[in-house]
């Protein structure tokens, strides 16, 4: 990379940088050549970093007042809400922050799916992202247990019981997870510890995620490899920084709306009832961001198979870069994939909806069809499309469609077109 040529201007800066090249790193980050056509779907990386830091800061403060003990946890959360200065604000930011975090990560993931950002040479970035996503789900689940309300308790019971589906060792694993014969105080204290730990693991993985991103550089809406730096790129600072900051501002407005005007709309009223091991609430529903996977779990009538299907739905994403056989990245040039992409979006939304509904009658039928389609998309549609789809010609550079319009009369384009067609023929 060109960064190695960098030398700080001041003498002190040079002295410091020779011993610890932090200034070189800062220079790399500001000058980092970024495709000039990045749209607003690309601003969610920055938004997600903001979400993570918000959760860490508010969580740190909440931990100063929270007590991880089954007899005191529920009261300590109410104490935060009523007595602690600005406790209500900090807790509402933290609770809604989790939802905002998932909202942003889903947009981020679906952006990647649309523009093929998971494809070679960015597979490792993608897989690191999936690991972060899994850790986010674990952190969110354990965090939801901490207030020790009815949903906390029964959510914890249902989710930890998923492991009891494993043949032979399942019972032992759940007992080990609980530290007893049911969800109880040992479970709460360990969940609190892990809930505190995981965000820092995520932070570490985010560093790797960005590091891996900075090796090949950003994908872009056109999905082609570009020369860096060239007239196809702009420096990260100030161009992308300003764009990210503006998007973050808009995102913060939505965030603030939930915190100040509808702080409990994404939660469940049952969680304001203290946990009672003898009474299960009439409807146990996970938080909205886990509903599609919950629908998949319930759509399979067999316990073990349901659990396998649910975990597979997430883990199938790990091998996505190899399931998608198309060499063209961006859906902009893949007319058929584009349609399947939107069907998948719809499919996941439908799964989310039926996940919130009782598992019976028509809802169950819809859940089964949607589950089957979800797996078909990744296991059948994507591999086959790569072979049969006739993709549109892709431009040679980002500047080209802007400067030459849609007319691609140059010799190079024709060559590219032939190459692409050959690829799509296999």
């Amino acid at each position: 990379m060109s960064d190695s040529n960098y030398t700080p201007k001041s003498k002190v800066g040079k002295w410091f940088n020779d011993r610890l090249p932090l200034l070189t790193l800062a220079n790399h980050l500001t000058d980092y050549p970024t495709p000039k056509n990045l749209n607003y779907w690309w601003t969610f990386g920055g938004i997600l970093t903001f979400c993570l830091l918000t959760q860490i800061v508010t969580g740190l403060v909440l931990a100063m007042h929270y007590i991880a003990d089954t007899k005191l946890a529920f009261a300590s959360v109410e104490h935060i809400m009523r007595d602690v200065n600005y406790g209500w604000l900090i807790r509402y930011v933290h609770a809604n922050g989790a939802s905002m975090f998932f909202l942003a990560v889903y947009i981020h993931i679906f952006r990647s799916l649309f523009y093929g950002s998971y494809k070679s040479p960015r597979e490792i970035i993608w897989i690191l992202g999936i690991i972060i996503y899994l850790l986010m789900m674990a952190a969110a689940f354990m965090g939801y247990v901490l207030p020790w309300g009815q949903m906390s308790y029964w959510g914890a019971t249902v989710i930890t019981n998923l492991f009891s589906a494993i043949p032979l060792i399942g019972e032992g694993i759940t007992t080990w997870l609980w530290g007893g014969y049911s969800v109880d105080n040992p479970t709460l204290t360990r969940f609190f510890t892990l809930h505190y730990l995981i965000p820092f693991l995520i932070l570490g993985l985010v560093v790797l995620h960005i590091w891996a991103l900075h090796v090949p550089g950003n994908n872009n809406p056109v999905g082609i490899e570009i020369k860096k730096p060239s007239n196809d790129t702009v420096p990260f600072h100030p161009y992308i920084v300003i764009k990210d900051a503006f998007a973050l501002l808009l995102f913060s407005i939505i965030f603030a709306f939930f915190v100040f005007y509808a702080p409990n709309i994404l939660g469940h009223a049952d969680n304001y009832i203290e946990a009672n091991p003898l009474v299960t609430p009439a409807h146990i529903v996970p938080e909205w961001y886990l509903l599609p996977f919950y629908a998949i779990l319930r759509s399979v009538p067999d316990k073990l198979m349901g659990v396998i299907a649910m975990f597979s739905a997430i883990l199938i994403l790990v091998v996505l870069p190899w399931l998608d056989t198309s060499k063209v990245r961006s859906a902009v040039f893949r007319p058929i994939y584009k349609q399947f992409y939107w069907i998948l979006v719809l499919d996941v939304l439908v799964l989310g909806y039926v996940g919130a509904m009782p598992a019976e009658g028509l809802y169950l039928l819809i859940a089964r069809v949607a589950t089957a389609y979800y797996f078909a998309h990744f296991l059948i549609v994507l591999p086959v499309l790569g072979w049969v789809e006739k993709t549109n010609p892709i431009p040679l550079s980002i500047s080209e469609p802007v400067l030459a319009g849609s007319a691609m009369a140059t010799r190079g384009v024709r060559e590219e077109k032939i190459e692409v067609n050959l690829k799509s023929l296999g």
């Binding site: 007992t175 080990w176 007893g180 040992p186 299960t280 146990i284 598992a359």
Partner: protein, 170 residues
């Protein structure tokens, strides 16, 4: 000494070191894993005695044993007959009602759905036994799974009748 022999000696030392290291790491990690298993204070709460003298026919009480709900149901004659008239072929987890109770009138079982651990509601569901609201499992008047995702019947814990009015669970 030939060079080959030297290499073999070195290989042996590497393998021995790695093995000793692995055993050492395993020994160091095990306490960190095992500390999560139920501790002595949890294990100490192993049994519960229940006075059942005030339970009338058709009534059911719920008691806590090892942090889990236990249903103690005094069944009516009708409910007993209903449970016993079912043929075993109809059952997902075939088990005779006679094998699930010590006295026909008293059904004692863990009040935990075998699907994902919710507490089923009594006198509900299509078989007039229990119904789990979480994922829709139906149990009959013997606590056997009849319909829904739960794989097996509700579990019967170890218990004894100390006298006519007292049950000791565990």
């Amino acid at each position: 000494m030939s060079e080959k022999k030297q290499n073999n000696r070195r290989d042996f030392i590497f393998t021995a070191t790695a093995t000793a290291g692995a055993v050492g790491v395993g020994a160091a990690v095990w306490p960190l894993i095992d500390q999560m298993n139920p501790d002595a204070s949890v294990k100490a709460l192993a049994s519960t005695e229940v006075d059942i003298s005030s339970v009338k026919p058709g009534q059911s009480i719920t008691v806590v044993w090892r942090g889990k709900p236990v249903f103690i149901k005094r069944r009516t004659q009708e409910e007993i007959e209903k449970a016993r008239s079912v043929s075993l072929e109809e059952l997902k987890d075939p088990q005779k009602d006679e094998d699930r109770v010590k006295k026909p009138e008293w059904l004692v079982m863990l009040g935990i759905c075998t699907h994902l651990g919710c507490v089923p509601l009594s006198d509900k569901g299509e078989y007039d036994g229990w119904f789990c609201p979480c994922h829709g499992s139906h149990y009959d008047t013997s606590g056997r799974i009849r319909k829904g995702p739960a794989p097996i019947n509700m579990e019967v814990p170890q218990y004894v009748f100390l006298d006519d009015n007292t049950i000791k669970i565990g």
